[in-house]
Symmetry: C2
């Protein structure tokens, strides 16, 4: 996030290995988040970034939404190279020196090949997983998609060919000669929290189903 | 974010206009956020997505961090086409039908040309704005960057040539025939909140400076 954010405080920090299988830590992080940003090259040759809901199954990230990526896929007629970035900002780092201001964060960037899920069974499985990412178990607690609805919904699959996993969670790092400066320094933690559920008209009970994102 | 997220409930919804100057709403949204995702094409020709801190000045988005984009810029020897996506997820939409599950969100995608800020004065101004994005007024309440520190910090500038502004904030939309189904439906609001500040060692006073992101 900054020039100083490539260091990490995990036992095996700043993972950036070619073609390694995503490890448990990267998988767990992906499973803890809901939205990422897809980068692809449009049919016209320009890079595009677009926010998308996602869910992981094995070494595949399923993406929900119809975007220009679908157009680019059709134009190309086959898998499209793509990159998908998921980030959780966990705090502001206020240092005594301007140059050491930073963020606490975790991020995973997946590089792979993007394709459209066309098989109806595979699409239904992926679709259920996407609904369950919004609220655990939710796909069994609502009306399932009809075949027609499923056909009109775009589901994309991104292979997890390479995974870059970063974390910057080590707080303030100021230079020794700045420690006596009279400026507040520290971390302001940030978190995503759920507010009071707002039931739709005609729904009794204010409580949303258990398992809504973010969990924990 | 989903196939149903391109609609919006603002008076002029789903803005997607070619080459229009960013309007006040898109500017205000960009100014309310701290992190976005840059998409660019690497020197090797692959799309990359990378999370970056940013701040807007006029019709330029300044990005903080050294990334592969810097390498691609050097290889190209001039401005690099890029796209920068900023999203705020504001709620989960749980519908009675699986297919109508969605997210409440706002997003802005900026398309433009990416370049490196090399002029020392321009770089210092951009750097101060980036520090002030973490906490309003903070650049005047810490030790300024030395010329050497500034020289070793990467600041990129993205021109706001085209801006796509989307919002999906209209709650649950179920089909009439599903309204009597016995499933909870509604919106679970989400927000980023700041926790108790954690002062660095040797800092007295738990209170972080006023103006820390997120404001309001």
């Amino acid at each position: 996030m900054t020039a100083h954010c490539t260091s990490a405080d995990t036992p095996r920090p700043h993972r950036k290995l070619d073609r390694y299988r995503p490890d448990d830590e990267a998988r767990a992080f992906l499973d803890s988040q809901l939205v990422g940003h897809l980068a692809y090259v449009s049919a016209g040759g320009r890079p595009h970034a677009v926010p998308m809901m996602y869910a992981r199954v094995g070494d595949v990230v399923y993406l929900h939404g119809s975007t220009g990526a679908g157009t680019a896929l059709r134009t190309r007629g086959g898998p499209l190279p793509a990159s998908f970035s998921v980030t959780s900002v966990e705090g502001l780092v206020l240092a005594r020196a301007a140059v050491h201001h930073s963020l606490q964060f975790r991020s995973v960037v997946v590089h792979g090949e993007l394709s459209t899920v066309t098989d109806e069974h595979a699409k239904r499985v992926a679709f259920d997983v996407l609904v369950d990412a919004v609220a655990a178990g939710r796909s069994a607690q609502c009306r399932p998609a009809s075949s027609k609805e499923l056909a009109s919904t775009a589901v994309l699959a991104l292979s997890m060919d390479q995974v870059d996993h970063k974390a910057r969670l080590h707080g303030v790092v100021d230079d020794a000669e700045d420690l006596a400066l009279p400026f507040w320094a520290g971390v302001v933690p940030l978190a995503v929290v759920a507010g009071e559920p707002q039931p739709d008209a005609g729904v009794s009970g204010r409580a949303a189903p258990a398992g809504c994102w973010p969990s924990g």
